[in-house]
Symmetry: C2
Subunit: 481 residues, 2 copies
């Protein structure tokens, strides 16, 4: 553990020039078009034929990297040539003084063949002689850095935020980026490291740990070399930002799959949950858990919530919620006498219930009352936050057609959010009426209220946060996000 | 247990005339309009003022039920009058020979007051003298029977299907009905029983157990009288249809909430999971689990699936899926030599992987290959079914813009479904691109392929089904749905 020296990646925000090696007419210069559409620096194409590409006439073309004038720096090279030619290109990169290379080409150790492994060994051997260049891949998508316009697919969002990401799998990185941005959690930098012959999970994680543009981190790990576990735990231990991890290859059948995917040894999972928790990381098991947790951290922060008031429009669903929250150790304290006195006069309509869970029932038709109720609840020192459940059918099909319940509901929550810094969480079930659900999600998540489609998602998320905070506080009074 | 005599509800499909007592101008004759919009039999309004309602001129009006001509039968009466007047109306119902009454009015035991309990006790006492009339409620929505056009809200769907339902809570019944219909699982009959002074969970469940229009049942239970647990287990034990149950009030805070909601004693939950499983019921914990399971039973049946082939477009997500399926005891067997021989020639593109999980990667651009792959897999006796994961970002933002991946994907699965009776399940993550996701869901669920948004949902659902089938087979070779 003592001898681990993470590789220096701090030059990444200073990437000035990018060259693409291997863009072909066959795939319509896909990756070249991608960089051309967004990269803010200078872009070059390296191709056999020394003439401009008709469809992309503004991009200068060279047959070799070393032909680019010496006073034009190329800091990053994206390589998509057949595997037998990769080493040759890397040599040119070193000659040109390139800082970072991304090898998209697959067919190395990931192929599971002797020949694939030999090609990979050759690359590793060459790099060990040339320690100044950093390499992503092979068999990875490289780096996504939307602020600089560095993307590996045209379809990846331009928006950038403060969530860092490391993933071995490019497909999963795409899925995670789209999923996060869709929830209002844009990404600062994402690394897709593939077979990881140089930059590995630890290096990327270590970089993001100190990156000022990154406030929390998502890590997808298929496997680590046997000795790397301890190093991972050390980085997590030192990291003062929440790190959400998902470990693939937990089971035997998953481990076998990971082996064939990125030639990763999945290692023994048994110790992980405890060790990650002890080190202050947050280990999730599914992609959905990951998204749910990321948006909580983004909107509310890594802030523990133990005592909530559960507000709903259906007594029955309120009971289910009380149960599920109880399963995750979240308490619904009785409404205090003082708060009860302030609220009593609102709860005269049939079906309403001034308890916790609270049933506002038809009161929802009267925004001003619900606003006052929420404000009073948030003002109660016994209540650390509110979960508000409303069903899309109630919103879409109001009993009183003259009331625009959707707009009212959004406004009620906007006012509540303004009135207090305490966490507010909304549940809108995924039962159709999709436009309404999406609108509520968009508008509320836009002001920092996470919206979930099931109480279990919310409860599970809160439990992850609560456990993280207790571990982080124990470790070293970590600065919370 | 021996002396339990379930109440006879078999007359319900023969309801000819309905009267609404208490429709007022104040709520724009809400319930009267609801019945008027869909009920296929004769409808009457009972109101103080003996004249037709201007907005609903076709509905005959009487001041008392007993004023309706003797040769015009009224089988069902919906009561929405102040609580102190309910008993008087019930007396008229008995005089008129009404079979079924639904008391919408709240403010009985649910109110938690002495006076509320007294009103409820009076009703119970009167009914014990008049055992021929059946009563739903008070504080419930009554019955939803879409084939006859009996609904308690105009917004409830007209579609009818084969899923029966019992729920104490009306709000939750609405949520469940909308949720089920949105997933392509329409309802045969739903009972919202509220305080359940006459028809209780057991009666409704017993009725649905024998109802020829119902093939599986969803039951939401807040509480049961102490002696009813054994009776419930007996009905489940005898029932040859899958019964999905959700028990609210599992936790202390949930139990307290249930008490204030429908005055139900939640009882001790500890024994439930084991007892329900032994009796052949399926106990879920959340609303989402309930919907996920209901659509599996509807589309695939209560059919056990232990060995699957997992097909995906992302090796990384495939590994996560392998893990999660492993967590739920679902095996991904190695692809057999024979099948491998048949498929080998397809798997030449980089990124593809002929394993289980299988990565078809860019092969997805070639529908005909993927069709042949799926057909070959479904033909393999070692493989009991397929889970196919595709990400909406892959579908929405294809690398080759000339291919309509969404239509292709739907067609691939339609052909696979036609080629084999084995279960096919699709995962499309909920990460935006909502139109595409909804279209795929609609089209595939329309042909019996359940679509989930996360592998965990699918795995959990399969585990519920597998456990149910093993219990049901042990009990008495139950006829599977």
């Amino acid at each position: 553990m003592e001898d681990y020296k993470p590789k220096d990646l701090s030059f990444i925000p200073q990437i000035r020039g990018i060259a693409v090696v291997g863009a072909t007419a066959k795939n319509k210069y896909f990756i070249l078009r991608t960089f051309n559409a967004a990269f803010k620096g200078k872009l070059y194409a390296i191709r056999r034929e020394n003439k401009r590409i008709e469809e992309l006439p503004d991009i200068p073309v060279y047959t070799r990297l070393t032909d680019i004038p010496a006073d034009e720096p190329v800091d990053f090279v994206f390589i998509s040539v057949p595997r037998e030619k990769v080493l040759e290109i890397i040599k040119d990169c070193v000659a040109k003084g390139v800082r970072l290379v991304s090898i998209f080409t697959a067919g190395f150790a990931d192929e599971g063949t002797e020949q694939g492994r030999r090609y990979q060994a050759e690359l590793i051997s060459y790099l060990s002689q040339n320690p100044g260049i950093r390499v992503l891949g092979p068999n990875g998508m490289g780096i996504y850095f939307p602020r600089l316009g560095i993307r590996w697919r045209t379809s990846l969002p331009h928006e950038y935020g403060d969530c860092g990401m490391v993933a071995q799998s490019g497909g999963l990185a795409n899925l995670m980026i789209h999923g996060l941005v869709n929830e209002g959690v844009p990404v600062s930098k994402a690394f897709s490291i593939g077979n990881a012959i140089d930059i590995n999970v630890l290096d990327a994680l270590n970089y993001l740990k100190d990156d000022t543009e990154t406030n929390f981190i998502i890590t997808y790990i298929e496997g680590l070399p046997p000795e790397a576990g301890g190093k991972l735990f050390k980085i997590l231990y030192e990291c003062r930002k929440p790190v959400i991890l998902i470990k693939a290859g937990r089971s035997d059948q998953g481990a076998k799959a990971a082996m064939s995917h990125t030639a990763s040894m999945a290692g023994t999972y048994r110790a992980w949950p405890y060790a990650i928790h002890q080190a202050g990381g947050i280990l999730v098991r599914s992609f959905e858990q990951l998204l749910n947790l990321a948006k909580f951290i983004k909107f509310i922060g890594a802030r523990p919530v133990n005592k909530l008031c559960m507000v709903s429009l259906s007594g029955g669903y309120g009971v289910i919620c009380a149960d599920v929250l109880g399963d995750y150790g979240i308490e619904l304290p009785a409404i205090s006498g003082r708060t009860r006195d302030k609220l009593n006069h609102f709860f005269t309509l049939p079906g309403t219930s001034l308890n916790n869970p609270m049933d506002v029932a038809l009161l929802i038709n009267d925004s001003s009352s619900v606003e006052q109720i929420l404000e009073t609840l948030l003002d109660d020192p016994e209540i650390e936050g509110i979960i508000f459940e409303n069903s899309p059918n109630n919103l879409a099909l109001p009993v009183r057609p003259d009331v625009d319940l959707v707009t009212d509901f959004i406004n009620i929550l906007k006012k509540a959010k303004k009135s207090s810094p305490k966490p507010i969480i909304v549940i809108i079930e995924d039962i159709g009426f999709d436009e309404i659900r999406q609108r509520i999600k968009r508008e509320l998540q836009g002001i920092g209220i996470p919206v979930y489609s099931d109480i279990t998602e919310a409860a599970e998320t809160i439990e992850f946060v609560n456990q993280y905070v207790s571990a982080a506080e124990r470790i070293h009074y970590k600065k919370m996000y």
